[in-house]
């Protein structure tokens, strides 16, 4: 094999006179070079012709069944498809872990932000009043309306939190259980007067938030 092409070893290849390493090298080259495939094909025609002039022997009948059995094994996937499948299979767990990680990261950030708000200064508080059987819940919120933390105790499932205003209902998010407590931290820039806990379309509890000076503010939560 001179240079990149296989033309000068076409006859050796067809006769089986190359060693295994050289043969594999030619095989690899033939996959990409139509010119050399033609040259090797011509040499193969000569070798096959010589072989066809040799004595004939009848194959045993069981050989066909043996070949059928070999062909029953799954055919290889075409290379591009195999690469695509490998990428998809490789990426799926990574994508899943990334999405789980992102959700956990967002939860941790929200809880950290809520804890910082609670520790930073006095805040207001209101309990949710049950309208239907529902777990006890409360809302803590900043005096300037810049944040809200909704906490549902003994939570069994996620409940939506909605802002009730002007006869309308705007869903703000979901308090999803983590252990026996569900929390939702809402950084907002405006004051909300009434919040509702929703189980599907049903309002199960409502909280009325007070903004007047008469409303008692709770002191900041101190650690230690």
């Amino acid at each position: 094999m001179i240079g990149a092409h296989a033309g000068d070893v076409a006859e050796l290849y067809a006769l089986g006179a190359l060693d295994e390493v050289q043969r594999r090298r030619v095989d690899a080259h033939l996959r990409t070079c139509a010119q050399c495939r033609t040259l090797v094909g011509a040499a193969e025609r000569d070798v096959a012709f010589v072989a066809s002039m040799e004595p004939r022997h009848d194959p045993p009948p069981q050989l066909e069944a043996k070949i059928d059995a070999a062909l029953a094994a799954r055919a290889p996937w075409p290379l591009p498809l195999a690469i695509a499948a490998a990428i998809v299979i490789g990426l799926m767990p990574a994508a899943y872990l990334w999405s789980v990680n992102r959700a956990l990261h967002a939860t941790v950030l929200a809880q950290t932000a809520a804890m910082q708000r609670l520790a930073a200064g006095p805040h207001r508080h209101a309990d949710f009043q049950p309208m239907q059987p529902s777990p006890p819940a409360e809302v803590m919120y900043g005096s300037d309306g810049s944040w809200y933390l909704i906490v549902v105790h003994d939570a069994r499932k996620a409940l939506a939190v909605a802002w009730m205003h002007d006869g309308e209902r705007t869903t703000l998010g979901y308090a999803a259980p983590n252990g026996s407590v569900a929390m939702l931290y809402l950084p907002k820039s405006h004051r909300m007067d009434r919040l509702a806990l929703m189980d599907g379309d049903r309002i199960v509890a409502q909280a009325t938030l007070s903004w007047g000076k008469s409303s008692p503010a709770r002191p900041a939560v101190r650690s230690g």
């Binding site: 000068d8 070893v9 076409a10 006859e11 050796l12 067809a14 006769l15 089986g16 006179a17 190359l18 060693d19 295994e20 043969r23 033939l30 996959r31 139509a34 495939r37 033609t38 090797v40 094909g41 011509a42 040499a43 193969e44 025609r45 000569d46 070798v47 096959a48 012709f49 010589v50 072989a51 066809s52 002039m53 040799e54 004595p55 004939r56 022997h57 009848d58 194959p59 045993p60 069981q62 050989l63 066909e64 043996k66 070949i67 059928d68 070999a70 062909l71 094994a73 055919a75 290889p76 996937w77 075409p78 290379l79």
Partner: protein
């Protein structure tokens, strides 16, 4: 084309159409029915596992299959020879010359032998060692004490001439196409 598209039915059909030629190609190298049987099946299994073993610009499918089966047979024979030599060395015996299988039907075989005598002596020696004894070109160069390039050239010209002479001796019913 079904075979180039790697369709299972086409592989089965390719075997059925060429069964006797392929089996004979293996048998004439190995000289043993069981070995020839395994050899043809292994050659097809290997092709089936390869993603793109054949394309139409390679030429005749039958020729391609014959060469694949012959090469599988030659590889088996080389492995057998190596194994035998190792066993003989272990047994402390002097290794005999590599054995060429005893093949039946010398009259038919004579047709190729006769054609070989139309080649020059140098070409004939190189082709016989490659075709009948299954030696690699480096082994042939060492055995004939000639450079690799010379052996390549003798095999190239010798193979073309052998096919041409056989074509002129070809009986009406035979042929690879």
């Amino acid at each position: 084309m079904g075979f180039a598209a790697h369709e299972r039915w086409a592989f089965g059909e390719a075997y059925r159409r060429n069964a006797a030629l392929l089996y004979s190609a293996a048998y004439n190298v190995l000289g043993n029915a069981d070995e020839a049987n395994d050899c043809v099946a292994d050659a097809f299994a290997r092709l089936w596992r390869s993603p793109h073993p054949y394309s139409a610009d390679r030429g005749n499918l039958r020729s391609f299959l014959v060469v694949c089966v012959r090469n599988e047979a030659l590889s088996r024979r080389r492995r057998q020879t190596r194994r035998s030599r190792a066993e003989e060395r272990l047994a402390g015996l002097t290794p005999p010359e590599a054995q060429t299988p005893q093949l039946a039907d010398p009259i038919e075989r004579d047709r190729v032998r006769r054609a070989l005598f139309a080649l020059s002596e140098d070409q004939r020696a190189a082709i016989e060692l490659a075709y009948y004894e299954g030696k690699t070109h480096t082994e042939i160069a060492a055995e004939l004490h000639e450079p690799l390039g010379t052996i390549k050239s003798r095999i190239k010209l010798g193979l073309r001439k052998l096919a041409s002479v056989l074509e002129s001796l070809r009986p009406q019913e035979a042929g690879p196409q």
